[in-house]
Amino acid sequence: MEQGILELWASTGIANFTLGQVIMIAVGSLLIYLAIAKGFEPLLLIPIGFGGILANIPVAEIAGPEGLLGILYHSGIETGVFPLLIFMGVGAMTDFGPLLARPSLMILGAAAQFGIFSTLFGAIAMNLIPGMEFTMADAAAIAIIGGADGPTAIYVASRLAPDLLGAIAVAAYSYMALVPIIQPPIMKLLTTEEERKTQMTQLRQVSKLEKIIFPLALLLVTLLLLPSAAPLVGMLCFGNLLKESGVVDRLSNTAQNELINIVTIFLGLAVGSKLAADKFLSLETIGILLLGMVAFSIGTAAGLLMGKLMYRLTGGAVNPLIGAAGVSAVPMAARVANKMGLQANPQNFLLMHAMGPNVAGVIGSAVAAGVLLAIVG
Protein backbone atom coordinates (compact mmCIF):
# COMPACT_ATOMS: atom_id res chain seq x y z
CA MET A 1 0.00 0.00 0.00
CA GLU A 2 2.77 2.41 0.94
CA GLN A 3 4.55 1.50 -2.24
CA GLY A 4 1.38 2.24 -4.22
CA ILE A 5 1.01 5.62 -2.56
CA LEU A 6 4.62 6.46 -3.34
CA GLU A 7 4.13 5.36 -6.93
CA LEU A 8 1.02 7.49 -7.24
CA TRP A 9 2.77 10.42 -5.59
CA ALA A 10 5.69 10.06 -7.98
CA SER A 11 3.21 10.40 -10.83
CA THR A 12 1.60 13.61 -9.55
CA GLY A 13 2.19 16.92 -11.23
CA ILE A 14 3.43 18.47 -7.97
CA ALA A 15 6.31 15.99 -7.79
CA ASN A 16 7.30 16.57 -11.40
CA PHE A 17 6.79 20.22 -12.25
CA THR A 18 9.67 22.30 -13.53
CA LEU A 19 9.68 26.05 -13.04
CA GLY A 20 9.48 26.53 -16.79
CA GLN A 21 6.30 24.51 -17.00
CA VAL A 22 4.71 26.52 -14.22
CA ILE A 23 5.57 29.74 -16.01
CA MET A 24 4.22 28.46 -19.33
CA ILE A 25 0.97 27.34 -17.71
CA ALA A 26 0.68 30.88 -16.40
CA VAL A 27 1.36 32.19 -19.92
CA GLY A 28 -1.34 29.92 -21.35
CA SER A 29 -3.78 31.10 -18.71
CA LEU A 30 -2.87 34.71 -19.48
CA LEU A 31 -3.68 34.15 -23.17
CA ILE A 32 -7.05 32.67 -22.22
CA TYR A 33 -7.70 35.60 -19.88
CA LEU A 34 -6.86 38.13 -22.58
CA ALA A 35 -9.03 36.27 -25.07
CA ILE A 36 -12.08 36.12 -22.81
CA ALA A 37 -11.81 39.32 -20.81
CA LYS A 38 -10.24 41.60 -23.42
CA GLY A 39 -11.54 40.00 -26.60
CA PHE A 40 -8.05 39.30 -28.02
CA GLU A 41 -8.65 37.05 -31.07
CA PRO A 42 -10.50 34.50 -28.91
CA LEU A 43 -11.09 32.04 -31.75
CA LEU A 44 -7.37 31.39 -31.87
CA LEU A 45 -6.00 32.43 -28.50
CA ILE A 46 -8.33 30.25 -26.42
CA PRO A 47 -7.28 27.05 -28.23
CA ILE A 48 -3.62 28.15 -28.35
CA GLY A 49 -3.60 29.10 -24.67
CA PHE A 50 -5.36 25.91 -23.63
CA GLY A 51 -3.04 23.88 -25.82
CA GLY A 52 -0.13 25.64 -24.13
CA ILE A 53 -1.40 24.59 -20.71
CA LEU A 54 -1.92 20.99 -21.83
CA ALA A 55 1.54 20.88 -23.42
CA ASN A 56 3.21 21.84 -20.13
CA ILE A 57 1.55 19.27 -17.91
CA PRO A 58 4.29 16.97 -16.63
CA VAL A 59 4.10 13.18 -17.09
CA ALA A 60 1.08 13.34 -19.42
CA GLU A 61 3.12 14.00 -22.60
CA ILE A 62 0.09 15.42 -24.39
CA ALA A 63 2.38 17.30 -26.78
CA GLY A 64 4.62 14.28 -27.26
CA PRO A 65 4.58 12.23 -30.46
CA GLU A 66 1.85 9.93 -29.10
CA GLY A 67 -0.21 12.61 -27.35
CA LEU A 68 -3.22 14.32 -28.89
CA LEU A 69 -1.49 17.67 -29.44
CA GLY A 70 1.61 16.01 -30.84
CA ILE A 71 -0.51 14.03 -33.28
CA LEU A 72 -2.41 17.15 -34.35
CA TYR A 73 0.84 19.07 -34.81
CA HIS A 74 2.46 16.29 -36.76
CA SER A 75 -0.46 15.67 -39.08
CA GLY A 76 -1.75 19.20 -39.53
CA ILE A 77 0.96 21.80 -38.99
CA GLU A 78 4.10 19.95 -40.02
CA THR A 79 2.35 19.05 -43.27
CA GLY A 80 0.94 22.55 -43.77
CA VAL A 81 -2.57 21.15 -44.12
CA PHE A 82 -4.25 23.15 -41.34
CA PRO A 83 -3.10 26.66 -42.32
CA LEU A 84 -3.95 25.91 -45.95
CA LEU A 85 -7.47 24.77 -45.06
CA ILE A 86 -7.92 27.87 -42.91
CA PHE A 87 -6.82 29.94 -45.88
CA MET A 88 -9.41 28.19 -48.05
CA GLY A 89 -12.06 29.14 -45.50
CA VAL A 90 -10.77 32.71 -45.39
CA GLY A 91 -11.05 32.78 -49.16
CA ALA A 92 -14.64 31.58 -48.96
CA MET A 93 -15.37 34.40 -46.51
CA THR A 94 -13.59 37.15 -48.38
CA ASP A 95 -15.37 39.60 -50.64
CA PHE A 96 -12.88 41.01 -53.14
CA GLY A 97 -15.56 43.37 -54.43
CA PRO A 98 -14.17 46.57 -52.86
CA LEU A 99 -10.72 45.77 -54.24
CA LEU A 100 -12.09 45.11 -57.72
CA ALA A 101 -14.08 48.35 -57.60
CA ARG A 102 -10.93 50.41 -57.09
CA PRO A 103 -7.91 48.24 -57.89
CA SER A 104 -5.36 51.06 -57.58
CA LEU A 105 -5.69 50.80 -53.80
CA MET A 106 -3.96 47.43 -54.06
CA ILE A 107 -0.69 49.39 -53.98
CA LEU A 108 -1.41 50.24 -50.33
CA GLY A 109 -1.47 46.53 -49.55
CA ALA A 110 1.90 46.24 -51.26
CA ALA A 111 3.51 49.09 -49.35
CA ALA A 112 2.51 47.68 -45.97
CA GLN A 113 4.62 44.58 -46.64
CA PHE A 114 7.62 46.79 -45.93
CA GLY A 115 6.96 45.79 -42.33
CA ILE A 116 7.91 42.23 -43.19
CA PHE A 117 11.11 42.87 -45.05
CA SER A 118 12.49 45.55 -42.75
CA THR A 119 11.87 43.21 -39.80
CA LEU A 120 13.86 40.57 -41.60
CA PHE A 121 16.75 42.99 -41.59
CA GLY A 122 16.08 43.79 -37.93
CA ALA A 123 16.05 40.16 -36.91
CA ILE A 124 19.44 39.57 -38.48
CA ALA A 125 20.75 42.75 -36.86
CA MET A 126 19.65 41.37 -33.48
CA ASN A 127 22.35 38.76 -33.81
CA LEU A 128 24.69 41.57 -32.76
CA ILE A 129 23.19 41.24 -29.27
CA PRO A 130 25.09 38.50 -27.42
CA GLY A 131 22.94 35.41 -26.82
CA MET A 132 20.65 35.97 -29.80
CA GLU A 133 21.15 33.60 -32.67
CA PHE A 134 18.73 33.86 -35.55
CA THR A 135 19.51 32.08 -38.80
CA MET A 136 18.22 33.56 -42.04
CA ALA A 137 15.35 31.04 -41.92
CA ASP A 138 14.50 32.09 -38.36
CA ALA A 139 14.58 35.74 -39.38
CA ALA A 140 12.25 35.13 -42.32
CA ALA A 141 9.79 33.24 -40.13
CA ILE A 142 9.81 36.05 -37.58
CA ALA A 143 9.48 38.76 -40.22
CA ILE A 144 6.28 37.26 -41.57
CA ILE A 145 4.58 38.33 -38.32
CA GLY A 146 4.54 41.74 -40.04
CA GLY A 147 2.11 40.27 -42.56
CA ALA A 148 -0.56 40.45 -39.85
CA ASP A 149 -2.05 37.24 -41.14
CA GLY A 150 -2.24 34.22 -38.84
CA PRO A 151 -2.37 31.26 -41.25
CA THR A 152 0.37 32.75 -43.44
CA ALA A 153 2.61 33.21 -40.39
CA ILE A 154 1.97 29.68 -39.16
CA TYR A 155 2.50 28.20 -42.62
CA VAL A 156 5.83 29.98 -43.14
CA ALA A 157 7.06 29.35 -39.59
CA SER A 158 6.19 25.65 -39.82
CA ARG A 159 8.36 25.44 -42.93
CA LEU A 160 11.30 27.64 -41.94
CA ALA A 161 11.55 27.60 -38.14
CA PRO A 162 9.26 25.08 -36.43
CA ASP A 163 10.99 25.63 -33.07
CA LEU A 164 9.92 29.27 -33.06
CA LEU A 165 6.37 28.52 -34.22
CA GLY A 166 4.79 28.92 -30.79
CA ALA A 167 6.24 32.35 -30.16
CA ILE A 168 5.57 33.49 -33.73
CA ALA A 169 1.93 32.42 -33.68
CA VAL A 170 1.33 33.98 -30.28
CA ALA A 171 2.97 37.22 -31.41
CA ALA A 172 1.04 37.29 -34.68
CA TYR A 173 -2.39 36.80 -33.12
CA SER A 174 -1.66 39.01 -30.12
CA TYR A 175 -0.59 41.94 -32.25
CA MET A 176 -3.55 41.41 -34.60
CA ALA A 177 -5.71 41.76 -31.51
CA LEU A 178 -3.72 44.84 -30.48
CA VAL A 179 -4.16 46.59 -33.84
CA PRO A 180 -6.71 49.04 -32.33
CA ILE A 181 -4.03 50.08 -29.81
CA ILE A 182 -0.90 49.91 -31.99
CA GLN A 183 -2.17 51.69 -35.09
CA PRO A 184 -3.99 54.87 -33.95
CA PRO A 185 -0.94 56.73 -32.53
CA ILE A 186 1.02 56.01 -35.70
CA MET A 187 -1.93 57.14 -37.79
CA LYS A 188 -2.18 60.41 -35.88
CA LEU A 189 1.54 60.97 -36.05
CA LEU A 190 1.83 60.53 -39.80
CA THR A 191 -1.39 62.15 -41.08
CA THR A 192 -2.83 65.63 -40.72
CA GLU A 193 -6.35 66.36 -39.48
CA GLU A 194 -7.10 67.63 -42.99
CA GLU A 195 -6.03 64.37 -44.58
CA ARG A 196 -8.01 62.25 -42.13
CA LYS A 197 -11.17 64.22 -42.93
CA THR A 198 -10.99 63.23 -46.60
CA GLN A 199 -14.18 61.57 -47.81
CA MET A 200 -14.01 59.11 -50.68
CA THR A 201 -16.48 58.66 -53.52
CA GLN A 202 -18.76 55.66 -53.48
CA LEU A 203 -17.45 52.44 -54.99
CA ARG A 204 -18.81 51.23 -58.30
CA GLN A 205 -20.88 48.08 -58.45
CA VAL A 206 -18.75 45.05 -59.32
CA SER A 207 -20.33 42.38 -61.50
CA LYS A 208 -20.60 38.74 -60.51
CA LEU A 209 -18.47 37.73 -63.47
CA GLU A 210 -15.56 39.94 -62.41
CA LYS A 211 -15.69 38.34 -58.96
CA ILE A 212 -15.57 34.88 -60.50
CA ILE A 213 -12.67 35.72 -62.79
CA PHE A 214 -10.56 37.46 -60.14
CA PRO A 215 -9.47 34.42 -58.07
CA LEU A 216 -8.50 32.63 -61.28
CA ALA A 217 -6.55 35.66 -62.49
CA LEU A 218 -4.80 35.94 -59.14
CA LEU A 219 -3.86 32.28 -59.31
CA LEU A 220 -2.61 32.73 -62.85
CA VAL A 221 -0.30 35.60 -61.90
CA THR A 222 0.98 33.61 -58.92
CA LEU A 223 1.74 30.48 -60.85
CA LEU A 224 3.49 32.42 -63.59
CA LEU A 225 5.63 34.58 -61.34
CA LEU A 226 5.87 33.06 -57.88
CA PRO A 227 4.85 29.40 -57.70
CA SER A 228 6.29 29.10 -54.19
CA ALA A 229 3.31 31.19 -53.07
CA ALA A 230 0.92 28.92 -54.94
CA PRO A 231 -0.18 26.70 -52.03
CA LEU A 232 -1.26 29.71 -49.94
CA VAL A 233 -2.64 31.83 -52.76
CA GLY A 234 -4.12 28.78 -54.46
CA MET A 235 -6.21 27.75 -51.47
CA LEU A 236 -7.31 31.36 -50.91
CA CYS A 237 -8.44 31.51 -54.54
CA PHE A 238 -10.08 28.10 -54.36
CA GLY A 239 -12.15 29.11 -51.35
CA ASN A 240 -13.08 32.38 -53.00
CA LEU A 241 -14.07 30.63 -56.23
CA LEU A 242 -16.30 28.24 -54.28
CA LYS A 243 -18.07 31.30 -52.91
CA GLU A 244 -18.24 33.47 -56.00
CA SER A 245 -19.10 30.75 -58.50
CA GLY A 246 -22.53 30.61 -56.89
CA VAL A 247 -23.07 27.00 -57.98
CA VAL A 248 -21.53 25.16 -55.02
CA ASP A 249 -23.03 26.93 -52.01
CA ARG A 250 -22.97 23.66 -50.08
CA LEU A 251 -19.20 23.50 -50.33
CA SER A 252 -18.67 27.21 -49.79
CA ASN A 253 -20.79 27.20 -46.64
CA THR A 254 -18.99 24.18 -45.27
CA ALA A 255 -15.60 25.70 -46.05
CA GLN A 256 -16.39 28.92 -44.22
CA ASN A 257 -18.21 27.35 -41.29
CA GLU A 258 -17.88 23.76 -40.07
CA LEU A 259 -14.62 22.97 -41.79
CA ILE A 260 -12.80 26.15 -40.76
CA ASN A 261 -14.18 25.78 -37.22
CA ILE A 262 -12.92 22.22 -36.89
CA VAL A 263 -9.54 23.13 -38.32
CA THR A 264 -9.34 26.22 -36.10
CA ILE A 265 -9.81 24.08 -32.98
CA PHE A 266 -7.17 21.61 -34.13
CA LEU A 267 -4.74 24.27 -35.35
CA GLY A 268 -5.02 26.26 -32.14
CA LEU A 269 -4.37 23.22 -29.95
CA ALA A 270 -1.49 22.13 -32.18
CA VAL A 271 0.12 25.55 -32.14
CA GLY A 272 -0.27 25.49 -28.35
CA SER A 273 1.82 22.33 -28.30
CA LYS A 274 4.74 24.53 -29.30
CA LEU A 275 4.42 26.55 -26.09
CA ALA A 276 6.46 23.86 -24.30
CA ALA A 277 8.69 25.57 -21.75
CA ASP A 278 12.04 24.43 -23.10
CA LYS A 279 11.40 26.01 -26.50
CA PHE A 280 9.40 29.06 -25.53
CA LEU A 281 11.25 30.40 -22.50
CA SER A 282 14.30 31.81 -24.16
CA LEU A 283 15.83 35.12 -25.06
CA GLU A 284 14.72 34.50 -28.64
CA THR A 285 11.06 34.76 -27.64
CA ILE A 286 11.60 38.23 -26.25
CA GLY A 287 13.33 39.13 -29.49
CA ILE A 288 10.41 37.74 -31.48
CA LEU A 289 7.86 39.72 -29.47
CA LEU A 290 9.86 42.92 -29.94
CA LEU A 291 10.42 42.34 -33.63
CA GLY A 292 6.75 41.52 -34.18
CA MET A 293 5.72 44.82 -32.63
CA VAL A 294 8.24 46.65 -34.80
CA ALA A 295 7.00 44.80 -37.87
CA PHE A 296 3.41 45.86 -37.24
CA SER A 297 4.41 49.46 -36.66
CA ILE A 298 6.62 49.74 -39.72
CA GLY A 299 4.01 48.06 -41.89
CA THR A 300 1.38 50.49 -40.66
CA ALA A 301 3.68 53.45 -41.27
CA ALA A 302 4.61 52.26 -44.75
CA GLY A 303 0.97 51.85 -45.68
CA LEU A 304 0.16 55.30 -44.36
CA LEU A 305 3.03 56.96 -46.22
CA MET A 306 1.94 55.31 -49.45
CA GLY A 307 -1.57 56.54 -48.62
CA LYS A 308 -0.25 60.08 -48.27
CA LEU A 309 1.48 59.75 -51.63
CA MET A 310 -1.77 58.61 -53.24
CA TYR A 311 -3.58 61.47 -51.51
CA ARG A 312 -1.23 63.91 -53.21
CA LEU A 313 -1.19 62.18 -56.57
CA THR A 314 -4.97 61.91 -56.77
CA GLY A 315 -5.53 65.47 -55.56
CA GLY A 316 -7.15 64.35 -52.33
CA ALA A 317 -9.33 61.54 -53.62
CA VAL A 318 -7.76 58.94 -51.32
CA ASN A 319 -7.85 59.17 -47.53
CA PRO A 320 -4.36 58.18 -46.31
CA LEU A 321 -5.84 56.42 -43.26
CA ILE A 322 -6.88 53.44 -45.36
CA GLY A 323 -3.20 52.81 -46.07
CA ALA A 324 -2.86 51.45 -42.54
CA ALA A 325 -5.38 48.74 -43.43
CA GLY A 326 -2.83 47.42 -45.93
CA VAL A 327 -1.15 45.36 -43.19
CA SER A 328 -4.24 43.12 -43.39
CA ALA A 329 -5.30 41.91 -39.88
CA VAL A 330 -8.68 41.55 -41.61
CA PRO A 331 -11.11 43.11 -40.76
CA MET A 332 -9.70 44.76 -37.64
CA ALA A 333 -7.35 47.21 -39.41
CA ALA A 334 -10.12 48.33 -41.77
CA ARG A 335 -12.35 49.00 -38.76
CA VAL A 336 -9.62 51.04 -37.09
CA ALA A 337 -9.22 53.16 -40.25
CA ASN A 338 -12.98 53.66 -40.31
CA LYS A 339 -13.04 54.72 -36.66
CA MET A 340 -10.21 57.21 -37.10
CA GLY A 341 -11.97 58.65 -40.14
CA LEU A 342 -15.17 59.09 -38.17
CA GLN A 343 -13.29 60.83 -35.37
CA ALA A 344 -12.01 63.42 -37.80
CA ASN A 345 -15.28 63.77 -39.68
CA PRO A 346 -18.56 62.19 -38.50
CA GLN A 347 -19.73 61.81 -42.13
CA ASN A 348 -16.60 59.96 -43.17
CA PHE A 349 -17.37 56.25 -43.59
CA LEU A 350 -14.15 54.57 -44.72
CA LEU A 351 -14.93 50.95 -43.94
CA MET A 352 -15.68 49.73 -47.44
CA HIS A 353 -12.84 51.80 -48.87
CA ALA A 354 -10.43 50.28 -46.36
CA MET A 355 -11.53 46.74 -47.18
CA GLY A 356 -9.76 46.93 -50.56
CA PRO A 357 -6.28 47.58 -49.13
CA ASN A 358 -7.15 45.20 -46.30
CA VAL A 359 -7.66 42.17 -48.54
CA ALA A 360 -4.82 43.37 -50.78
CA GLY A 361 -2.67 43.05 -47.66
CA VAL A 362 -3.59 39.37 -47.41
CA ILE A 363 -2.47 38.84 -51.00
CA GLY A 364 0.63 40.94 -50.40
CA SER A 365 1.69 38.90 -47.38
CA ALA A 366 1.14 35.66 -49.25
CA VAL A 367 3.36 37.00 -52.03
CA ALA A 368 5.98 38.03 -49.48
CA ALA A 369 5.75 34.57 -47.95
CA GLY A 370 6.34 33.11 -51.40
CA VAL A 371 9.50 35.19 -51.89
CA LEU A 372 10.84 34.16 -48.47
CA LEU A 373 10.07 30.48 -49.10
CA ALA A 374 11.62 30.61 -52.57
CA ILE A 375 14.89 32.22 -51.49
CA VAL A 376 15.35 31.27 -47.84
CA GLY A 377 13.44 27.97 -47.73
Partner: protein, 78 residues
Protein backbone atom coordinates in the same frame (compact mmCIF):
# COMPACT_ATOMS: atom_id res chain seq x y z
CA UNK B 1 28.04 32.91 -42.89
CA UNK B 2 29.08 35.83 -40.73
CA UNK B 3 26.85 38.64 -39.62
CA UNK B 4 27.93 41.07 -42.35
CA UNK B 5 27.04 38.63 -45.07
CA UNK B 6 23.70 37.94 -43.42
CA UNK B 7 22.94 41.64 -43.15
CA UNK B 8 23.84 42.11 -46.79
CA UNK B 9 21.65 39.18 -47.77
CA UNK B 10 18.71 40.49 -45.78
CA UNK B 11 19.14 43.89 -47.42
CA UNK B 12 19.03 42.17 -50.78
CA UNK B 13 15.92 40.28 -49.71
CA UNK B 14 14.33 43.57 -48.71
CA UNK B 15 14.89 44.87 -52.21
CA UNK B 16 13.89 41.68 -53.95
CA UNK B 17 10.89 41.11 -51.75
CA UNK B 18 9.41 44.59 -51.97
CA UNK B 19 10.18 44.57 -55.68
CA UNK B 20 8.32 41.31 -56.18
CA UNK B 21 5.37 42.44 -54.10
CA UNK B 22 5.04 45.70 -56.04
CA UNK B 23 5.47 44.04 -59.43
CA UNK B 24 2.92 41.32 -58.74
CA UNK B 25 0.34 43.59 -57.13
CA UNK B 26 0.77 46.21 -59.87
CA UNK B 27 0.29 43.52 -62.47
CA UNK B 28 -2.92 42.55 -60.66
CA UNK B 29 -4.13 46.16 -60.84
CA UNK B 30 -3.66 46.12 -64.60
CA UNK B 31 -5.35 42.76 -64.93
CA UNK B 32 -8.33 43.82 -62.86
CA UNK B 33 -8.73 46.93 -64.98
CA UNK B 34 -8.56 44.88 -68.16
CA UNK B 35 -11.13 42.43 -66.81
CA UNK B 36 -13.50 45.21 -65.82
CA UNK B 37 -13.23 46.58 -69.38
CA UNK B 38 -13.90 43.23 -70.98
CA UNK B 39 -16.76 42.18 -68.76
CA UNK B 40 -20.05 43.55 -70.16
CA UNK B 41 -21.20 46.55 -68.10
CA UNK B 42 -24.81 45.41 -68.39
CA UNK B 43 -24.10 42.46 -66.18
CA UNK B 44 -22.79 44.79 -63.51
CA UNK B 45 -25.84 46.95 -63.07
CA UNK B 46 -28.62 44.69 -61.85
CA UNK B 47 -26.85 42.95 -58.99
CA UNK B 48 -27.71 45.12 -56.03
CA UNK B 49 -29.42 42.98 -53.40
CA UNK B 50 -28.02 39.47 -53.37
CA UNK B 51 -29.30 38.70 -49.90
CA UNK B 52 -33.01 38.53 -49.17
CA UNK B 53 -34.58 41.25 -47.09
CA UNK B 54 -32.83 41.27 -43.71
CA UNK B 55 -34.85 39.32 -41.18
CA UNK B 56 -36.08 41.24 -38.19
CA UNK B 57 -34.10 40.72 -35.03
CA UNK B 58 -37.19 39.23 -33.39
CA UNK B 59 -37.33 36.66 -36.09
CA UNK B 60 -33.67 35.83 -35.60
CA UNK B 61 -34.15 35.47 -31.88
CA UNK B 62 -37.02 33.09 -32.48
CA UNK B 63 -34.98 31.06 -34.91
CA UNK B 64 -32.01 30.90 -32.59
CA UNK B 65 -34.26 29.79 -29.79
CA UNK B 66 -35.78 27.17 -32.05
CA UNK B 67 -32.39 25.89 -33.17
CA UNK B 68 -31.23 25.90 -29.56
CA UNK B 69 -34.24 23.93 -28.46
CA UNK B 70 -33.95 21.59 -31.42
CA UNK B 71 -30.34 20.87 -30.57
CA UNK B 72 -31.10 20.24 -26.92
CA UNK B 73 -33.67 17.70 -28.00
CA UNK B 74 -31.11 15.87 -30.08
CA UNK B 75 -28.15 15.78 -27.74
CA UNK B 76 -25.65 12.99 -27.69
CA UNK B 77 -25.46 11.36 -24.32
CA UNK B 78 -22.05 10.56 -22.94
Amino acid sequence: MNIDQLLLQSLQLLGLGMGSVFIILSLLIVIIQVISKLVPEAAAAPAPSTTPAPASSQHIAAIQAAIHQYRRNHQIKS
